[in-house]
Symmetry: C2
Subunit: 198 residues, 2 copies
């Protein structure tokens, strides 16, 4: 196991510990940074605030609170430079995305982040429903796959029809901003609170 | 297993299914409401939007975005009536709580909601640190318990010193509002986004 100089440097920056301590901690954890932080902390050689680090990226945090204060959305959208983050175009995109989340059943940014247990449960229900239709077993899978696509369109933000122009998907809205601003733009995360729903 | 009339009623309200179907579904799931909804959906007898229901309660959703738009907090605080939710006192409390979360390391509302894995990891680190002090084993547990209390004070919102009056705990701020407004007030949940931290 080779501990690279850049790994040692990162651990030093995160913990404030000395170079030799960092090297030793990394050797002990086979190069696992988070575990090395724990090792250093156990020996009192790292600040208690040492944490898995932040990826250096730019972007905005934005909130939309629906009139009446019963529903709110918090969203993070990232780009590559602070310059783009401060443009009106980027701000408008972020505002529109937050309103989209507030107005719809959006639960995940993309398919990959959909809760697999929820999806499995949904699939079981749809399969039972399809069976009840009396259609031949051979095409049930196809029917269910089509309905799962509809579920994605309902709950996956990037696949939803854009509320202000339902002919376009939200993903197209983001792609358009990417083309215009010339930077990669990523919807990182969002959360929605509704009074009484916790 | 007796299926009460009120349970049947609730299932009907949530699903829009007929009374006999609801009774049957509940019998099949031994009175489990969420499972009964799934049963009804499988038979196409419940709206797809049927979900574990909302507790009827009042309150507000509030957001605090720190100047610069790099940090934001979304919070839900509940009370018993819409009347109290709309008072200036309640609104001010909610605003102050959101700012408290933004300004501190708050991660959970109360001790019960602290992530047990995180706490266990913290405890192991503190125990190792204490061992390194050379103090007798008999008092190490006590030292660690004291340090864990400090961890709670750092990450549990209700146990934190209130930023605008550090002699009081946040819980006292809430209790004061309860006394003044004459309703139970509960901090339900909050979330904090910082750019690049996802």
């Amino acid at each position: 196991m080779t501990i690279t100089a850049s790994l040692v440097k990162e651990l030093r920056e995160r913990t404030g510990a000395g170079m030799m301590e960092c090297k030793k901690a990394l050797a002990e954890t086979s190069g696992n940074l988070d575990q090395a932080i724990d090792v250093l902390r156990k020996h009192g050689m790292a600040r208690a605030s040492a944490k898995a680090g932040r990826e250096a990226r730019q972007g905005l945090i934005h909130a939309y609170i629906h009139p009446g204060d019963q529903l709110g959305v918090l969203i993070e959208v990232s780009c590559e430079t602070d310059f783009v983050a401060r443009t009106d175009d980027f701000r408008e995109l972020v505002r529109n995305l937050a309103m989209q989340v507030a107005a719809t059943n959006a639960q995940s940014v993309d398919r990959a982040s959909v809760d697999p247990a929820m999806l499995e449960r949904e699939r079981a229900i749809l399969m039972e429903q399809a069976r009840g239709s009396g259609k031949p077993e051979a095409i049930l899978e196809k029917i269910v796959a089509g309905k799962i696509d509809k579920v994605y369109e309902d709950i996956v933000l990037l696949e939803q029809p854009y509320i202000r122009d339902p002919d376009r998907k939200v993903k197209e809205l983001v792609d358009q901003a990417i083309a215009k601003l010339g930077e990669n733009i990523v919807v990182r995360r969002f959360t929605k609170f509704r009074v009484g729903e916790a």
